[in-house]
Amino acid sequence: MLTFIVRRLLWTVLVMFVISAFVFVLFFKTPGIDPARAIAGRNPSPQILAEIRHQFGLDEPFPVQYALMMKDLFITRDLVSYSNQGVKVVPEIFAAAPATLSLVFGAAVIWVVMSMALGIAAALLRGTIVDPLLMILALIGISMPVFWVGEVANLITQSRFHDTFLFSWVPPLGYTSFTQSPVGWFKGLLIPWITLSILYIGLYARVLRANIIETEGEDYVRTARAKGLTERRVLLRHTLRGSMISYVSLFGLDFGALVAAGALLTEVVFAIHGVGFLFFQSLGNLDLPTIMAIVVYGAFFIVLANVIVDIAYAWLDPRVRLT
């Protein structure tokens, strides 16, 4: 177990280094990008540009610049945004993270519950008309782009039907923190949660259905039935357990990616000022420090999600040992 943790930590550091270095190189080697100009604002004089370059260490050699940025990010933690002078990047991300985590956690709960229900229902009702109907529904869910669903949801709940009894409870766009008002938090996030989870409900229901049907053909499921277990127990203890392995790995990866600013479109559409929203803004402003910090933060969550998936694997399947 200890070797597993140490190895994973080293792996995390390596992944974060590679990703940050890659983003750094990509940023500076992309033609037409001059961070000094982005910092200086409109029509700067050459002297000001030179001063800025010096102040931000942009006249240093390439590796030194990278090292300086990493130092500011990790050690002194006072990396400053290029576009928004005086704003420290690290606290900014920490301030944005709760909104993103709220959004993604809530959506994950919805999509896990719904996709399990749909996947199991479809697998059990195979051979009836319900199964293909559910799967077509799932396919429609997968096919609808999240930003479109979000805009349509806004159109319905914020304008067209806002005054009807159905959606009069929907607050204006934006994020209310849980500590401020739990009810406001829930009301404000419900529509975004549903919007974000639709794609995953469809995807996961299909994956789970396929896995259940595959596991259903395993010899050990037949054994379980031959033992005289109830159908319910055969399903929950044997079939579903065997079907969960790819479901869990998929979930870990998607969840990690969403926490790592992957819910950007949903956040932008619903004006939730989370990490994805921040990422969206900093991309528009070519704000390298913020981009860099978010990328590193994202890499951390993705690696973390992978570790959790590995631990879950070992729990699900004793043949997989943690070494």
């Binding site: 195979r126 051979g127 259903e216 395993e218 010899d219 050990y220 037949r222 054994t223 379980a224 039935r225 031959a226 033992k227 005289g228 277990l229 109830t230 159908e231 127990r233 203890r237 044997h238 357990r241 065997g242 699900l316 399947d317 004793p318 043949r319």
Partner: protein, 342 residues
């Protein structure tokens, strides 16, 4: 004779497929007395497994159709509700499967899997189920049973896993154990051990055994009675002695002829049965073995019934008259049945 423990009456199982209806089991009738061992022999696809799986109602394919009756202690299993058949599976009729590598759930400890079955049928505490599991593992010859009960299936060898399966099958003292090719996936040396174990447990527990196999050797060693299946039908059925020494059906002759014998001069090649088993999709009427049979005559175009021609409980489904069979069998293996395998 008292009512048999298990009686299969004219069981038919068919599967709807894209190519047409597959008649996997076509009117099989069987009886099994208490404590008896019945061997069901046949090649792959002859319907032997499907027959016994249908008895347990373990075929979940929605395209399967069943006809006929399966009487167990006078109750028709085919007419029971899910909950009623569940109470019989594992407790009244237990099953041992072919491949112990895949028949145990890899994610649970073996002891847990056996205790799960005990607790599904008997209202006993976890501790009691666990203790009984250890006793069972001991009785099937697993060393250090009290420690190994907490191991996972992948920590056992194939032979040991099959012992675990046998312990599981016996865990609720069933009247009948159906063993579906229990030794096929094992090494030859382990096969003998497992067969020995099944025989010993059968004698100790007085359990009736249905042994499904394609191995005539296994049948010769274990069975009291033998049923030979071909293309979903029983073609010959009788006591082990009758079937082995006085086989009546040309297919049985072929099966027996294909066994290497140590008490005879070594043949240049083992005999084979020419041709292949027929496809079970839209099987034409008539004797299914007809196209491969050297003794076919016009009457074989009609499906031959399984009848007791000799009047001694030895049934066969061949229309040849007994004298003709005797003549044909006179020269050990009929020359027509010997084919050079090149």
């Amino acid at each position: 004779m008292a009512d048999p423990l298990l009686e299969v009456r004219n069981l038919k199982v068919s599967f709807r497929t894209e190519d047409g209806t597959v008649q996997a089991v076509d009117g099989v009738s069987l009886t099994l007395a208490e404590g008896e061992t019945l061997g069901i022999v046949g090649e792959s696809g002859s319907g032997k497994s499907v027959t016994m799986m249908s008895v347990m109602r373990l075929i979940t394919d929605p395209n399967a159709r069943f006809e006929g009756q399966v009487l167990y202690k006078g109750r028709d299993l085919m007419a029971l509700t899910q909950e009623q058949i569940r109470g019989i599976r594992g407790a009244g009729i237990a099953m041992i499967f072919q491949d112990p590598m895949t028949s145990l759930n890899p994610v649970y400890r073996v002891g847990w899997q056996i205790a799960e079955q005990i607790q599904a049928h008997d209202k006993v505490s976890k501790q009691a189920a666990h203790a009984r599991t250890i006793d069972l593992l001991k009785s099937v010859g697993i060393p250090h049973a009290s420690e190994r009960v907490d191991d996972y299936p992948h920590q056992f060898s194939g032979g040991m896993r099959q012992r675990v399966m046998i312990a599981m099958a016996l865990s609720c003292n069933p009247d009948i154990v159906i063993a579906d090719e229990p030794t096929t996936a094992l090494d030859v040396t382990i096969q003998a051990q497992i067969l020995g174990l099944i025989r010993k447990l059968r004698d100790d527990f007085g359990t009736a055994v249905v042994l499904i196999t394609h191995d005539m050797g296994v049948v010769a060693e274990m069975a009291d009675r033998v049923a030979v299946m071909y293309a979903g039908r029983i073609v010959e059925e009788g006591s082990r002695r009758d079937v082995f020494y006085r086989p009546q059906h040309p297919y049985t002759w072929g099966l027996l002829g294909s066994i290497a014998r140590l008490d005879r001069p070594k043949p240049r090649r083992l005999a084979t049965i020419p041709g292949l088993p027929p496809s079970l999709v839209n099987l034409p009427p008539g004797c299914a073995f007809g196209p491969r049979c050297a003794y076919r005559f016009p009457a074989c175009a009609q499906t031959p019934p399984l009848t007791d021609k000799l009047g001694n409980g030895h049934l066969d489904a061949c229309l040849l008259d007994p004298q003709a069979k005797k003549d044909a069998r006179a020269g050990a293996t009929p020359p027509e049945l010997v084919e050079d395998a090149t």
